[in-house]
């Protein structure tokens, strides 16, 4: 049980802080959230700066072009960038956190050389095409079909809820390459493809979220030709390949936001002080309990990272415990913000109001809370498979 930083880690932190102090003031103004091309340019510009300063792919293995940093250094990186108010990973989320790590773990040398450097440089943006209209929580029910034709797959079907598909160059696509038969489990017969978003037959139709902006889209695939060489992993082995990706998603993907929780809470307290609501002990105690919850999210993260470091594995099912608590606390935080704001919580121009709307997706995206509880019950607690 050691929470202290080594000299190397402190040194890393100080150099990072100094760099952030130097570069952040020179950043261009934040783009309008509704302007996706501008958002892409902004996010990629930031990634390029990280790359040039040697911070891109910090936790990726060296063979993949990363820095091979320890999980602790990665944690320090996420903590410090968030504290300094640096931009989020934004449009580079899928590339850096899903598709990239999958290619790094499962791709051939040629595939790694083709796709990883542009992700790290902020040159190419990826999106994730997993969910379908008929396959959400039950991802293995996916129907998008890929039929072999010479050196190509011909892909037809549709994807939904694909975040920032509009501005993506590539899509990590799950397709069915073998039909479901009574004797093959549905998890077999799925393959992982890198789909170029500008291929003929790809149509993207943005969907408006309840927050008013178009964060995700429908993607229609009409006989799109994808080279067989774009398949990562063996044919029909895409489910296993994907699970590597998903465990990354539930690992350290939310660290920045955990740090942000504390910042939001402190600024809520100051606002409450200023508008007099702080005098209400019920509200004060509510914020106090949220402070405990935020501390817990941070400690859970440190615990999970240490355990992953100790066992040498990727963040595993322990991530489900974290994600359940995280999404709940995140929503409670913004509900408390609304209490601090009072009627002003109805003014979407006020700070936190749009964040409150966005927080509603936390118990749904990346595996709903119900699905996380199923995972905890069956895979951690060993309860019999439910129905």
């Amino acid at each position: 049980m050691d929470l202290s930083c080594t000299e190397d880690e402190e040194d890393f932190r100080h150099r990072l802080r100094a760099w952030l102090r130097r570069v952040l003031p020179a950043l261009p103004p934040r783009p309008d959230p509704a302007d996706w091309p501008a958002r892409r340019a902004y996010d990629c510009g930031w990634q390029r700066m990280l790359h040039d300063a040697g911070y891109a792919g910090l936790h990726w293995p060296r063979e993949a072009g990363g820095k091979g940093a320890t999980p602790t250094q990665h944690l320090i990186f996420l903590e410090e960038t968030e504290r300094a108010g640096a931009p989020y990973v934004g449009a580079n989320f899928v590339g850096l956190l899903h598709a990239g790590p999958t290619i790094a773990a499962e791709g051939t040398a040629g595939q790694r050389a083709r796709w990883l450097p542009p992700i790290l440089r902020g040159d190419e943006v990826w999106c994730q095409g997993f969910s379908e209209p008929e396959a959400g929580s039950d991802l293995a029910a996916l129907r998008t079909r890929a039929v072999r034709d010479g050196d190509d797959y011909v892909v037809s079907g549709s994807k939904i809820w694909t975040s920032h598909a509009e501005v993506a160059d590539w899509c990590e696509l799950l397709v069915r390459t073998a039909p479901v038969t009574p004797d093959t489990p549905r998890h077999r017969g799925i393959s992982w493809l890198a789909l170029p978003m500008d291929a003929p037959g790809v149509t993207v139709r943005p969907l408006r979220t309840l927050a008013g902006t178009a964060e995700f889209a429908e993607v229609f695939l009409d006989e799109v030709r994808v080279p067989v060489a774009n398949r990562v992993g063996a044919e029909n082995d895409g489910w296993r390949v994907t699970m590597v990706t998903l465990s990354f998603e539930r690992g350290t993907a939310f660290v920045g936001e955990v740090v942000a929780c504390r910042r939001v809470l402190e600024s809520l307290a100051r606002t409450a002080r200023a508008n007099g609501r702080w005098d209400d002990p019920v509200l004060r105690r509510r914020l106090g309990r949220l402070a405990a919850d935020c501390t817990a999210l941070w400690r859970l993260t440190q615990w999970n990272v240490s355990e992953a470091q100790r066992t040498g594995g990727v963040p595993g099912v322990g991530g489900s415990v974290f994600k359940l608590r995280f999404s709940q606390v995140r929503q409670e935080l913004y509900d408390a913000a609304a209490e601090v704001l009072g009627a002003d919580a109805l003014d979407a121009g006020r700070e936190w109001v749009v964040d409150r709307l966005s927080s509603l997706s936390y118990t749904i995206a990346a595996g709903t809370s119900q699905i996380q509880r199923n995972i905890v019950a069956e895979r951690i607690l060993g309860l019999p498979k439910g129905r």
Binding site: M1, C5, I76, A296, R299, Q302, N374, V376, L381, L383
Partner: protein
């Protein structure tokens, strides 16, 4: 940073678990509980022998295993370990529902060893001299825990030799006899934790004696606050142990009990209760362990809140998973719930912890990993 347990810490935890299972198996717990008469938990046949009395033999064995001397320097006959190790030991005690004023005796052993805080209190000083070895049973009276009219509840007073009294700023040791003279037995909700109500106005030191806060050597006015924080954390560790145990109990029952032709653990409503229990327990674990490392008051307040919540809510859910069996005296579930209620009232209440954390939001300290 490596937050995981070290090999030594794992070994310590395993050793403590083994000790608890050997010396305080379920049969012992049930003997304590089932000896409780209809008249409540007052000491029956005199101090130390009645229902709910502290088992002196077990207490000595805990002492021999280093439970109370864990944090004393080796030079003083202790084990020379720190708060993280103490937290692991207390977690195991909580898991086994080991009764007795564990935190108070553990802290008194520390006071006795430093000599300073109790040096001015000769009689009581002698009474806590054997705390480290488990020869003395020391309970606590926390004046901050005063209810209506200023009265305070004290556990295991009839079994105790001495009472650690925590005042506003100072702490002291009084004999159990002194405190007991004005005490009145209460019908404790927890059959394994006899309680006495002591009227308000008890001072950390008897008239004419000096308490820790008033003397220069070794302890200042912060003594009571420090002891209260440590006691709160050690109690939170017991809550954690209980919360982990009730998850295991609920899961074991859910795998065995068959209804509608299948184990009830296959029903999603039951699965989700169990999953939420695990989330509470693991969340509490991370803050309790972290607070043991940092000893930061805010971290300890967070540990208190989340461990109390985990222990109480998990016991409730465990009860639900057990159905009618959960409502019986025979099942152990109620013992976890009742003890969790008792512990939640001790040292730092939820209200106090929440207020402390709220105040902390106004003063940001840089938080290193």
């Amino acid at each position: 940073m490596d937050f995981s347990l070290t090999e030594d810490q794992r070994a310590l935890r395993a050793g403590m678990r083994e000790l608890m299972e050997r010396r305080f198996p379920r049969a012992r717990l049930r003997a304590v509980v089932d000896a409780e008469g209809g008249g409540g938990a007052a000491a029956g046949e005199g101090a130390g022998t009645g229902a709910g009395a502290v088992d002196r033999g077990l207490w000595r064995e805990l002492g021999a295993a280093g439970f109370f001397a864990l944090r004393l320097p080796e030079a003083a006959g202790g084990v020379g370990l720190g708060l993280p190790e103490a937290v692991l030991a207390f977690e195991e005690a909580g898991r086994a529902l080991l009764p007795g004023p564990l935190a108070a005796t553990h802290l008194a052993a520390g006071l006795a060893a430093t000599g300073a805080p109790v040096a001015g209190v000769p009689v009581a000083g002698a009474a806590v001299a054997g705390a480290a070895e488990g020869e003395a049973v020391v309970t606590a009276l926390d004046t901050a825990g005063a209810g209506h009219g200023g009265a305070v509840l004290v556990e295991h007073l009839a079994s105790a030799d001495a009472v650690l009294v925590l005042g506003d700023g100072d702490a002291g040791i009084r004999t159990a006899k002194e405190i007991g003279s004005s005490a009145e037995a209460v019908r404790s909700v927890d059959p394994a934790t006899p309680l006495h109500r002591v009227p308000g106005g008890v001072a950390p030191a008897a008239a004419g004696e000096r308490s820790s806060g008033e003397q220069g050597a070794g302890a200042g006015r912060g003594t009571a606050a420090r002891l209260r924080r440590e006691a709160a954390l050690l109690t939170a560790a017991q809550q954690l142990g209980s919360a982990v145990r009730t998850v295991e109990t609920a899961v074991a029952h859910a795998r065995e009990r068959v209804q509608f032709g299948r184990a009830i653990g296959a029903f999603q409503a039951v699965q989700h209760l169990c999953a939420s229990m695990l989330v509470r327990a693991e969340t509490a674990r991370s803050v309790v362990y972290a607070a043991a490392v940092t000893e930061d008051p805010g971290d300890i307040a967070a540990a208190v809140l989340l461990a109390d919540e985990a222990a109480v809510r998990n016991a409730r859910d465990c009860l639900q998973v057990h159905g009618g069996m959960g409502f019986t005296w025979e099942a152990d579930v109620h013992l976890h719930l009742k003890r969790a209620w008792v512990r939640a009232e001790q040292w730092q209440t939820a209200a106090a912890a929440e207020e402390e954390l709220a105040a902390g939001l106004m003063s940001t300290g840089a938080r290193c990993l």
